[in-house]
Symmetry: C2
Subunit: 242 residues, 2 copies
């Protein structure tokens, strides 16, 4: 049984501040909980009604679920995970492939970008503090389980980029730049994607070693963040033997 | 002034059936109306409050806007456009580049795919009847103005694909297929994107001449429809001199 305090606690976690205070986040829904379990994510607690056939730690009634849920139509499962923020390793962004998100505020975009990083086996994703919150339901949903597989750091970008050795390309995706089809193969590189509205911030722009652009043949003003990142990743990867 | 009947009519257009009966669709919001006007779209009517500084056909009060709007927080402009469905030309899909959407149901995805078709200057987009409605606000919003620039047809896909000459490749994007990095250059081709959940339908699969896939390096189960289409378009376009 869930006490009144339990319910209040669970409901409070829809708020980012409360999540940070508690060090916990919440996801609801059969699809997202299944995806995270399949990816090996270990939850602190899994509350489920009798309809849920997967792993759980506590059975609850439909009425309790309705009161704990953030959704107008509750699902059969609600899980609690621990917020685990990994500091950047000492080597920083010097080796491997890093995707840097500079102010990407749409949670759907951040989730899609995690999924892309996962598909292309990037070594890490680094978020600026003003990106959508990694531990929000919308980001986790949109990542389709990649949330549990991709290494993500959140840090001040200009400082993190300042430590990148000169031999490592820092590619900035922009509307003006070198044709992405001609970028040099690189096993170590940083790909920077700017915010939906204003692109890459000026402090981060100073750390870009090469701007790259996706050739445009028609009239659309831009491509969305996920699409642009995916095309750059595909072009970078295709030049490297597996 | 808007009569009670006018208001009722405008509000009714949020419903697809009513839109079809009236042959009219509605979009609201400064951003989307500006994007469509900039793209040269000609509206039947543009209702605007004094805050709207752009083109309009009728000034209305904030109170009237609040009653006409579909939004909890109304904007300053609401525009009425004519639903114009273009039949497939006699030449069908035989020449140029066509993007075919087979049951793409998420309006955001359909809008993003129109934007991609616009960026890569595809000749047309063909929707199956079970795709998200082209004239819904969400599709038009997500297209960022590309709605007004891209030629879109809606038709039964197996019949339309049956008329494609054998010399024209019909590429089906799937998780198994030929590496997209090795596809032959083609000025005439059809790219088929399946639905988010079940991929390409079996009737359409029979019309695919070549399945293509985007090499996966990591663990994500799939890429979203827009991302996949964009990578295929980029690979097809990069092999062709402009």
């Amino acid at each position: 049984m869930l006490t009144k305090a339990d319910l209040q606690h669970l409901r409070s976690l829809r708020d980012k501040k409360q999540r940070e205070l508690a060090g916990l986040f919440i996801v609801e829904g059969e699809k997202v909980v299944s995806e995270l379990l399949k990816a090996g994510f270990v939850f602190d607690a899994i509350y489920a009604t009798p309809e849920w056939t997967g792993q759980k730690t506590q059975g609850i009634t439909n009425d309790e679920m309705a009161r704990a849920s953030h959704f107008p139509t509750p699902t059969s499962v609600l899980a609690l995970g621990r917020i685990n923020r990994q500091p950047l390793p000492d080597s920083g962004l010097a080796s491997g492939l890093t995707l840097v998100l500079d102010g990407v505020q749409d949670p759907g975009n951040v989730g899609t970008l995690l999924r892309i990083a996962d598909w292309f086996a990037l070594d890490r994703v680094v978020l600026s503090p003003d990106c959508a919150d990694l531990f929000s339901q919308k980001v986790i949903n949109a990542s389709k389980g990649s949330f549990a597989r991709v290494t993500v750091h959140s840090t001040d970008l200009p400082s993190a980029l300042a430590t990148v050795p000169p031999a490592v390309m820092v590619l900035g995706c922009d509307l003006i730049g070198e044709d992405v089809h001609t970028i040099s193969p690189a096993r170590d590189a940083v790909i920077v994607i700017g915010s939906e509205g204003r692109g890459i911030s000026s402090a981060v722009k100073q750390r870009i070693s090469q701007f790259v652009t996706i050739p445009r043949y028609g009239s659309a003003e831009s491509l969305n963040a996920g699409v642009a990142a995916a095309i750059v990743c595909d072009n970078l990867r295709r030049s490297l033997p597996v």
